[in-house]
């Protein structure tokens, strides 16, 4: 294999890493605070559509990304409100987000013309950084920075102590004067922002289009990465890269002349999901999660 192929796989892997990792890091913040949002997939999908619409309406990729983040924040706010002050089931509201996104995005795509597909003009996509060996999305270094930043936030700041205390023992945090539900709501919004950014990246950066299958289970893979990482954002970055590699490999195999005829691409396309299953099966029980994860807090 030639060197350019290796560069090609690396770039595809890095690009595939971005959405999974961003969503996983958001979920890490949220789970640290004790909320379990299974609706990442739905936020990604909403973010993809919102990003595309925002970018086209404004003519600016940056506005597109911000629109994705804003819509993500809004969904995070709804989820956070249901899970905190309304004391609803986190599982059900997460599933609800996923189902709503599926239906809503499919509907919008039909309304906008071609059912199931909406392409984003090249001019409003995120400009890539030309490197000698290929073009890199600016979201790749941003993702790395977010991972490091969130690690610092959770492990090395007063705010991080509060977030984790709320997830571990909300009663103790409450007694200490922390507004438990407010911290959780903030974490839910932060998670929504990152997942929304990941979604917008899918449509106006990586793929340049919106389809109703654009997320392809990446929200659920992100949940698996959170398990793999044990709520450590740096490990989530590593996990994101591993999954991204298989994702990228699948894309590369499916498109590269010569190879796509030897290995059926469907087989390689299975790989990220198989790896997900294997990793989750192997990690469950070994990783320690916050004691109060998924439990609404109610002062008695």
């Amino acid at each position: 294999m030639e060197l350019t192929h290796l560069w090609g796989i690396l770039f595809i892997s890095l690009h595939a890493m971005v959405p999974i990792t961003l969503a996983a890091i958001g979920e890490t913040i949220e789970e640290s605070a004790g909320l379990f949002n299974i609706g990442l997939e739905g936020i990604l999908l909403f973010g993809a559509l919102a990003g595309a619409l925002g970018a086209q309406a404004s003519g600016s990729a940056l506005v597109g990304l911000l629109t994705g983040m804003g819509v993500g924040a809004l969904i995070g706010l709804v989820f956070g409100t249901i899970s905190t002050s309304l004391r609803g089931s986190q599982l059900i509201s997460g599933v609800g987000i996923n189902l709503l996104a599926l239906g809503f995005v499919a509907l919008m795509l039909s309304v906008m013309g071609a059912p199931g597909f909406h392409s984003v003009a090249r001019e409003v996509q995120v400009p890539l950084i030309p490197l000698g060996v290929g073009n890199l999305s600016p979201l790749v270094p941003i993702t790395v920075a977010v991972a490091i930043g969130v690690w610092w936030l959770l492990r090395r700041t007063q705010l991080g102590i509060w977030i984790r205390a709320v997830g571990e023992n909300p009663a103790a945090a409450d007694v200490a004067g922390i507004r438990v539900n407010r911290v959780r709501l903030g974490a839910a919004v932060a998670a929504g922002v990152l997942a929304g950014l990941a979604g917008a990246y899918l449509s106006i950066d990586w793929f340049g289009a919106v389809t109703k299958e654009i997320t392809a289970g990446r929200g659920f893979i992100a949940l698996a990465i959170v398990v793999f990482s044990g709520l450590n954002p740096l490990l989530a970055l590593l996990g994101g890269f591993i999954f991204g590699f298989f994702d990228g490999l699948a894309t590369w195999v499916a498109t590269y002349p010569g190879i796509k005829d030897i290995i059926p691409w469907q087989f390689v396309a299975m790989m990220p999901y198989v790896v997900t299953l294997a990793v989750v099966a192997g990690m469950i029980g070994r990783v320690r999660f916050p004691s109060a994860l998924g439990v609404p807090y109610l002062r008695e």
């Binding site: 936030l153 984790r164 023992n169 945090a173 007694v175 200490a176 004691s291």
Partner: protein
């Protein structure tokens, strides 16, 4: 233990730090009495003021209101003469009022220093852990609280965790410290160490409010004591001007007798009979041997022993929860080996378990439902598989009344919100109302106040007189010796010996409990 009454300055000259007048708290229409009723209370600089009262007297509620965790219904609170109204514990802290809760309010996965940082009012993106650790070290030295700031809380003993709780509030330099039954998780020697710390803090000019229902502790540490009963104060006095008898009378109204006289066992029939039975879980112990325990109808057999010596496994075997590894279990002349728990229940085996909240009740279910948990299939509580609300209500009402359980509502109150003592009252009622032939009772009076303990003992004796056999498993040798016709001692899965209860020699029992083999002759 040195008490303030025989040394040091005169205390009632101390400044009043915190003062409550006419404090009331109630959920109208739910409870038959107010949780707090027109209460007056104050604490002064340099004193340990004890709040004494039985379970449900309202001690914890006072502390929670004074610290800002609960809202009061009526009354006024003054800090150094200034009227205050706290809406949160943080506001209380800002006024120098701090509370150490009965349950540990710690994050087990955090270190000591991180736990203290949870309560800091620091900027969001700061991280002052080094400074916090240094300051903990200074507090540790000042008050003699031995704790390593870098240790992870889940690795600490209960006594050390309690000290972390105290450090947590000391960090805010409070003037008044409210401690809600801080000794409930401590060994007696850890409790004594805590009293030294409390005294050091009082000598430092702080006002300490110490909540307890244990007489020994009251005299070990207090300067003044306020007795509380059903939400009302029974008066405040200097500890030097009272004595144990008087306080006991004021707190409980009655005292606990030492020994319960009773007639000889009248029956010969065996109620519970285990034949060379090895409970599951004990068969792998070195030199495990079969347990042959014979309890006659109308007999109370005490099973003494340090917990963890196979009592749990034995109970599981004789209640049918886990079939024994080998041997037989007979109940009233029927071989029950390998039968289901339901068949044991129907045969007349009542079980008062040690882990009440986990296996004694269903916490999320309501009081009435829990009361008929073992009888709901039978008439009159159900007919053709449909529950009969009326019958269940009147039955539950009777049980609640007879056992003095404090229960807001039969069908509205989930059992999880009840106190441990009230849950135990419901379990005792549920398990004994049918006068079952066999009662397996594990630590039946743990967490009950003196009056309820006495009622429970009398209940067991009354059931005994009606022909019930009782297997009483307890770590409390006093209880075993007061109540048992015969006493068996268990050590490492074996019965070390059995003696008559009347005139039993505490020393021999203690010897067996430690694994010795001296004969009782």
């Amino acid at each position: 233990m040195k008490t303030r009454s025989d040394s040091g300055p005169v205390l009632d000259k101390g400044d009043v730090l915190l003062e409550a007048r006419g404090l009331s708290k109630g959920f109208p229409g739910v409870w038959e009495h107010l949780i707090l009723d027109q209460l007056d209370f104050d604490v002064r600089s340099g004193e340990v003021h004890t709040l004494l009262g039985e379970n449900g007297a309202g001690k914890t509620v006072i502390a929670n209101i004074l610290s800002g965790y609960y809202e009061k219904t009526e009354g006024e609170i003054r800090v150094k003469g200034k009227l205050v109204h706290f809406r949160s514990p943080r506001e209380g802290l800002a006024h120098g009022i701090a509370m150490v809760h009965q349950e540990l309010m710690l994050v087990p996965a955090f270190t000591v220093a991180e736990n203290i940082m949870v309560g800091l009012d620091a900027p969001l993106f700061s991280y002052g852990i080094a400074g916090v650790e240094k300051r903990i070290q200074r507090l540790v030295e000042r008050y003699g609280l031995q704790v390593d700031p870098k240790a992870r809380v889940e690795d600490l003993s209960a006594g050390q965790q309690q000290r972390v709780e105290i450090l947590k509030v000391l960090f805010h330099e409070p003037e008044v410290l409210l401690l809600d039954e801080p000794t409930s998780l401590l060994t007696p020697s850890e409790a004594d160490q805590l009293f030294v710390v409390l005294r050091a803090m009082a000598d430092d000019g702080k006002g300490i409010v110490f909540i307890s229902h244990k007489m020994r502790e009251v005299f070990a540490v207090s300067d003044r004591v306020t007795v509380l009963k059903l939400g009302k104060t029974q008066g405040t006095c200097q500890i030097a001007e009272t004595n144990e008898d008087e306080l006991t009378r004021r707190t409980f109204g009655e005292t606990v007798p030492d020994y319960m006289e009773r007639p000889e066992v009248a029956h010969e029939e065996l109620a519970l009979n285990t034949i060379e039975m090895v409970p599951s879980g004990l068969e792998k112990k070195p030199n495990s041997q079969g347990i042959s325990l014979k309890i006659r109808c109308g007999e109370i057999m005490g099973l003494a022993g340090v917990s963890g010596n196979g009592q749990t496994e034995l109970i599981e075997a004789v209640t049918g929860l886990v079939p024994p590894a080998s041997g037989e279990v007979w109940i009233l002349n029927a071989d029950m080996t390998g039968r289901t728990p339901k068949e044991f229940i129907e045969r007349g085996v009542a079980h008062i378990p040690e882990r009440r909240r986990e296996i004694g009740i269903v916490e999320q279910m309501h009081v009435a439902e829990n009361v008929v948990l073992k009888d709901y299939r039978k008439t009159p509580f159900s007919k053709n598989t449909v529950l009969r609300h009326q019958q269940i209500s009147s039955h539950a009402e009777k049980i609640v009344e007879k056992f003095n359980a404090l229960v807001p509502d039969l069908w509205q109150t989930e059992c999880r919100i009840l106190s441990g003592g009230n849950i135990q009252r419901l379990i005792l009622g549920r398990e004994t109302w049918r006068k079952p032939p066999v009662i397996i009772a594990s630590h039946p009076t743990e967490g009950l106040d003196a009056k309820a303990i006495r009622h429970t003992w009398e209940l067991f004796l009354a059931l005994r007189a009606e022909g019930s056999a009782v297997l009483l498993v307890s770590e409390d040798l006093d209880e075993i010796m007061s109540l048992s016709d015969r006493i068996a001692v268990m050590f490492e899965g074996k019965i070390m010996g059995i003696v008559d209860g009347k005139g039993a020699d505490r020393e021999i029992l203690g010897h067996w409990m430690a694994g010795g083999t001296a004969s009782a002759a």
